[in-house]
Amino acid sequence: MKKALKILGTLILIICTTTAIFAQSSDYQITKEFENSYRSLEASINNAITLEAADSLNKEVIKLRETYAKHKSLIDHALYPDTFEDAIQDLVAEAKYTEEVLMVMEDQGERLSSMNEQIANYQAEIAFLNNETDSLKTLIAKSEESEKNLSRLVEQYRERVEKRDEFVLQMMDSLFVAYRELEMNTGNSNELASSAIAIQEGDNPLEFIEATIEENIQVLKAGSSEMTTEDILQMHTIQKRFADTWNKVGGDLSQVYGGDDSRQWRNKIDSQLKDWKASTSKNMWDSINNTLEQNNVDIGAFDNNQSFYTAIESFINNSVEDSEGKFIADENREEFNSFYNFWNNKLKKEWGNYIQDGEVLTLSQISTIDAELVNWNDETQPTSYVVPILLGLSFITIVGLIIVLTRKD
């Protein structure tokens, strides 16, 4: 706006001075006014910031030339050694240069504007991504927290499982013994019930049993991926002991501590034990299968004790059959080594107690597999080539001697 006013002022000055020239007719003043108009126009050209202004100033240069052309000789004299034409050409060149610069600037301005727009888009994108990152960080933090909680849960379970579950089992046993003693001493169900009330000083043991089973089920649901095969085998063993003990005393405990709801308590805990067993079994077989895969052993599908044993037996028998008659049996040997490693180092050494206690395999089954493994080992032993070679050499020597002796004769 200021520039436009400046240009307008220049034009007015030129018009006024031109008018004044004709009134007074001083040669000196004409040249001075030309110089003033020239300088003013030159300044406007140098300060022009828009293409429209530059174009307008171009026209003003032409107008200046036309106005003062009739005073050319005077101005030549005033500008000596320059001339009027030189001065006008300089001004035209300046105007042209300014116009070119402004064209470039306008073009660059458009590009700059486009780039600014792009930058704004990028900034918005970055802001969006930052938000996403923050959200993801929050999620990761939550996930990490959740993972930590899970690990803590499993850790706590590991720490408590033996003591707590052992305690519950002991409690069930002791309750059972106490109950038997009471039964023997009283022989009357009413008295039994009143005695039971005397025993029940703290919480209802049925509630305690229920909570323990439920907690085990929840641990399996939430943290089975964090648990090792050994952990799950341990839980399987405990679950089995729980089930055995409950089968022995569950009915009586329900009757004594369940009161009017004894049947419901019995059914409820029976159902819970079934769920626990199913959950433990599934996790246990999956975990064993994973361990086999990690050892590169594929014995086929199994999902219970019998199918596990059968799968092992079939696997060994098939492998033995495969090895029979083979002169070189490197692949079979490798397979044997993998299974041997799993069987002895994992199953028998690390999991041995839980395998037996939890009756995953019986002692008899383990012994059978051991025997079959010995057979398999024999079948896959590397064959010695010494004897055949010696025999071959002996045969060649004998033939050679016979030929030599025949020729001598």
Binding site: Q24, S25, S26, D27, Y80
Partner: protein, 161 residues
Amino acid sequence: MRMNRLTHVILGLLIVAVASACNSFVVEDVDYSQQLESVLVPDENGNVTDVRHGISFNVNSFKEQEFGAEDSTTQIREIRLIRNADGFYFITANQFKNVYVMEPGNASLKLKKKINVSESPLTDPAFNLRSSGVQLVMRDTNEVIEMNESGILNNNEEDQS
């Protein structure tokens, strides 16, 4: 003897004539004209210099001529001069009533003519050079007076000191 004396005289005259002819070498049709007037600003001592036209002088003499020696209050802010084809300088300034026609001499400017151009002091004078002579333009009144070194052309209001 008389012939000899006459011969000597004639020879002497011839020598003088030849010597004189050698000393009076003159270039004719010189144009001294200055197309544009010079507007010069005196320094604190009253000196002005026109670098382009190669002249420098003191304006105090003009001040005394115009306002009298006793006037110490009037100052010449700028002085205007122009030179015609014959080489005479025409000099005036604001508040002057006259145009001074000065003839350049040996390190001097000699008054050729003092032309009275106005009864009242000039307020905005300017010189133009035209083929007919020097124009004095009085821009305040838009009046133009044409003159040469002898005085105003077509005008008898001139005063020679």
